[in-house]
Symmetry: C2
Subunit: 345 residues, 2 copies
């Protein structure tokens, strides 16, 4: 199945299904991956690629390596192999590989093409689509980056078979996120189907990507609607940060963030207890964490400012309005928000 | 005088004349400059700016500092002062400051606005318009960079008064370049007028910027026409490189490159000796270098590959077709090109 991401002057396809043969005759290709993914899947990928020259660039696995050193390592390989403006990169891995590869492609000789071949569910349903690239630094996550859309995204579930159950669940959290804020029918479908079944999984990925493509088409640069994808993330980012980005996987922190956002939405009367419970049950079905112990409420609150979307002293929360819809809320009193945080303290 | 640079989904103005008052209430502004320009002109600039917070970031003067270290220095200041997506940078200096500031703005939180206020003639007529950003590394010039258009360009000749005569001439070389490939009338006007007169200078800047805006509007990403601006640069880049980027100013190397390109155009019969002489006389009028001693012809020829525009084993020369027009030539035999280089050996 192919889904089009239509932007103002650029469109590309997300292909869900068997990875096709990729012919890059006349061009050089750099595959960026990590040692683990490379060991598991590079053989499969290499069988599908024709190019003038293929080079493999591995960067260490983990969020802590999503930094300028890794970018420089990739650039070094590209220059050494005399990549030109027609050369291209393939991001072969999860979100870290995708973000860092996209960023490097966007600054090499003022921008070259890159392709996303995600190997995690999280990256497949979320990070690989939409053109956000970025690296972390001591001030926070994704604070350096660009918007640089991939030339194409190929999503073959064969690469997801080796995911551990925690990684799998982390991806499901982003799928559930999409359903809660955009699509009640999809949410009901998720309640009734098991994503461990491959056909179901492909459908859920397709629907999530469709929803994401719809959002990105309307607001590529995140001046409005696109920020809705941050549902669960405003809280989740703080949870991730408090756990030094090692205690929870990103999707796990989002699951906790969803629970917190729902509690806040309930508190201000735009979400029912029954709906909160339905979301809770769905998250639990995939063994996602739904409890969290806040040590210091004031400290937790202060960390909302880490978020790039916050500006000029307002915190914007994305809160569900029943299942299948949402509202941006930047009008919430500090006391109300903290009263919710207290419940987790 | 205002000149519009019209791109597919973005337009901005190049204002030539007195710097207006700039009101950035509600926003933070970072002025990136070097110690010399700062000492000469910062007072004038600061009197014209209103903002929530203004910070000054100086980076060392010179092409050798157009690197990732300087980018990191600017980012450090921005993060320390909690710049957000609504903050903006002002590039206050020559081409080095402009390129590096534009690049930093393009990667800070996936891109923030920046404004160009050029303080050299070269930057005013060329680098500050068109959105090319970049830094150098050990492999070459501008090999890392992005396309990121400024929000506005303000060109006030008051900042050019302190230019040395070599710097002034270097800027004139780019003006002459534009006239030779695009505009015979403008070329005749340049023959008849002295750019040391301020009114004449403003006209010449305006016309050059108009021509550049026309080119950039048609081909922002340099997939075709825009490469014509490389006239004189294919040879000039090698001259610059051989002089370690310190013997010649960029514009001076371009002047030498123009002489070489004209000699090649003459050789293949698309440019007359008389026209070659007219260009030579005009370059000499501004004390631009027109002689160069090539030590090793083969070595010089090999260095054409440094150029980002060269790919797949073809060298593309931009050669004048009479004065006021040009032709891309990627069909020239190595022997013919080397026979011209021999004349300079």
């Amino acid at each position: 199945m192919d889904i089009s991401v239509k932007l103002e002057n650029y469109s590309y396809k997300v292909s869900i299904g068997d990875l096709p043969y990729l012919n890059f005759a006349g061009r050089k290709v750099g595959i960026v991956t990590n040692p683990k993914v490379g060991g598991l899947h590079l053989k499969t990928l290499l069988q599908k690629i024709t190019a003038d020259e293929v080079i493999i660039i591995t960067i260490p696995d983990g969020e802590e390596y999503k930094n300028m050193d890794s970018v420089n390592m990739i650039l070094e390989s590209m220059f050494n192999h005399r990549f030109n403006r027609k050369s291209l990169l393939i991001a072969f891995g999860g979100g870290v590989i995708g973000d860092i590869t996209g960023f490097t492609a966007s600054i090499y000789q003022r921008g070259i093409e890159f392709i996303q071949i995600p190997t995690t569910l999280l990256s497949g349903v979320d990070a690989s689509v939409g053109g956000k690239t970025g690296i972390n630094n001591k001030w926070g996550k994704n604070l350096i980056g660009t918007f640089h859309q991939p030339k194409a995204v190929y999503l073959d579930t064969i690469f997801l078979k080796t995911l551990g159950s925690r990684e799998f669940g982390a991806g499901v959290a982003e799928i559930i996120k999409m359903a809660v804020i955009f699509d009640i029918k999809f949410f009901r479908w998720l309640e009734d189907h098991d994503l461990k079944n491959d056909e179901n999984l492909r459908f859920a990925i397709s629907r999530s990507v469709e929803l994401k493509a719809m959002v990105v088409s309307q607001d590529e640069r995140e001046t409005g609607l696109r920020a809705s994808l941050n549902y669960g993330h405003t809280f989740g980012h703080v949870v991730e940060h408090e756990g030094n980005y090692s205690k929870f996987l990103h999707g796990e922190a989002v699951a906790i963030g969803i629970i917190m956002a729902n509690a806040l939405a309930e508190k201000i009367g735009q979400f029912s207890e029954a709906d909160s419970n339905r979301v809770l049950i769905l998250l639990k079905k995939y063994n996602l964490p739904v409890n969290y112990k806040i040590v210091d409420v004031n400290n937790f609150y202060e960390k909302f400012w880490l978020d790039k979307k916050s500006s000029n002293k307002k915190i914007t929360f994305i809160l569900p309005l029943g299942i299948g819809d949402f509202k941006f809320r930047d009008d919430l009193d500090e006391k109300i928000v903290k009263s919710i945080l207290e419940k987790f303290a």
